[in-house]
Amino acid sequence: MKPADNINRLIKESGVSISSEADKRILNDALEHLERVRQTKPAETGLDIWRIVMKSKMVRFAAAAAVILGVILSLRVFDSAVAPAYGISDLPELLCDARTLHIKSTIWNYAPDPNQPELMTATILPEERWIDLENGRFRRISHEPDPYTRGVRRYFRSEAFRDGEYAMDIEHGRRLVWFNRLSKVKRQLDMKHDVDTFLRMIEPEQLVEFSNVGQEKIDGTLFDIWQREFTFDSIAGAVPKKVRCWLSPSSGELGRVNAWFKTSGDDTTWRPMYFMEVERDVPLSASIFAFPDCVAYKHQNTLESATVGEGLGAGWFFMGNAKVSLAVAFILDDGSIILGWGCKSDQQPQENAFAGLQAGGELPTIPVVIYGLKPGPTELGDRPPEISYVGRHLAYTKKTYTWKNGKKTAWFYEWAIYVATQQVSASPTGRCFNILCEFEDAGERKTEVGNPIYAYRIFEHEFNRFVLGAMSELSDNSQPPTHVTYDSVMKLSEQIRASLKK
């Protein structure tokens, strides 16, 4: 065979590698420049000035956000040479660049018909959200199921406002109003959760077929319709799902996102789940986000009396005789988790419980010990993996709260690191974990699966801001423990993982 016959193959196969010295130099220089660029960037993508917070009632937002996520998780790569100006693969970038979002949704809430339980009937619930990413403001009008009715399905209208360090919630059904003050780190985390996790974070591994199924003109604008059909592995079993997305090929405008499902593979009817109309970068006036006067409503507290509360505002609950506060949890790059928690019992002072503890060693012996974690279902309702995480001590902080009546209470927060008993990769987004606890109840030591906590996905460059920031906020001297750094935590989790394998 003549060499000329193999030109293509030979050129394709020809290989040369960079010398290890140059390899190191190139990567180090590039990383160094990245660090320099990062340091010179003003206000770190505006997180400090963005003050949007959507607190813990994530489910309502998640319902609609899930649609966006459903779309985002379903993107298909296609040949850019034949693609229109904007295709479905541009969607993450388009959403990432959004300054404001106005989303009007219709949500179908299904439940068995009380008269014919074998039939499903739907209640149609409207929802509207305004998100001002630049100025960190948020407002949502939604409908919540009324927990105070039995046998009859009833919903009441609720509103949530977030602006800076204050939040206002209105429950129109019971005509209640209450205010919250928000921890700086927590509101940045929640904003990150909303913006980053739902709109920006996408793992290529999760992307599957999305195909262009046609076009439609809406109000004079031509939209491509992108569709994906897939089977969703829910807690209830496999559920066929279909998501459609209207995207303007000329402007990148995302017009609509609709989702349907079937109750099972045998079901022949596509039932609507959510229909959303999305407006990106429309001007949102300040009046949309202004806290309203609710004169005829009962105020649980006032703006002035609103406090942050224990554990970055998470509050506390009882386990046995002790109060427990789950402050915050983070998923790190290697899949390990840091959870900050504290407990308080009048019978057992804790001053000495933390003395002499070593990073990577046993957890403190206190009235409630969270010795492990287990993944819970995600906001999308998928089946959680069967993995356990084992807790080890990382650090602790002490925070003394001074209340308005002058009373002081001190909380010790254990910052434990949880490492999976088997190999895991860090999820692209945050997720809920169930806590595995050991606690004293009526003189007995009991174990129980406790309340779930949402763990935020944190990347290397966010470690100091969020993890050390949270530790600082829950510390009397406003400083994080000095031995906690990203590298030291990564090294420690690796050591724990190795010891667990043994």
Partner: protein, 182 residues
């Protein structure tokens, strides 16, 4: 999958993720090195070009928007920088096209990659191609870039890119066939 993954990696890089930058570097460093060596015929100069391309990529991240493939973008950057290096060389020495092809016993970069006789012959033949043809051939075959993308990156028409490729391949065939006859 590749295009989407790259878009996400770029997004994360923009937000300062070192891990994302590492992934991009590891993913494309070898392809870019082969490309640079093919265009410059000098390992050391090729490493410098790859270095400059990655550093410039980081510096330009803020306003960067990925419209095609990342590999294509980086390959174009390598080709542009290699062209500049060749231009400078030409102004200081003689035209590169006039340089004698690098022999198998020389210290040229291709020696290190020519692990068998066919590859050695090919490396010598590629080195004899005029710069413009060499660029199109290598970008198309090694970097996997489409003629449309090559044409856009070089500011030429698609037909010109195709012609350069065809002439380049003809010349390669002719050189290799004549060597085979020897």
């Amino acid at each position: 999958m590749g295009l989407m993954e790259d878009k996400l990696l770029v997004q994360r890089c923009k937000r300062g993720s070192k891990e994302a930058l590492r992934r991009i570097y590891e993913k494309y460093k070898n392809d870019l090195m082969v490309l640079a060596v093919a265009l410059l015929n000098d390992t050391s100069a090729a490493e410098d070009v790859v270095h400059d391309v990655f550093v410039s990529f980081v510096q330009a991240l803020e306003g960067f928007r990925l419209t095609g493939t990342l590999k294509g973008y980086l390959a174009t950057c390598v080709a542009n920088r290699a062209r500049n290096v060749n231009r400078l060389r030409r102004s200081h020495t003689v035209a590169l096209d006039e340089v004698e092809p690098i022999g198998a016993d020389s210290n040229g970069a291709y020696e290190s990659i020519a692990c068998n006789e066919q590859l050695q012959q090919l490396s010598r033949a590629v080195a004899q191609l005029p710069c413009q043809q060499r660029e199109v051939v290598v970008l198309h075959l090694r970097a996997g870039m489409k003629f449309r993308a090559i044409a856009k990156s070089q500011g030429i028409s698609v037909n010109t890119a195709k012609s350069r490729y065809r002439y380049g391949m003809d010349k390669l065939r002719s050189i290799l066939n004549s060597e085979a006859k020897k």
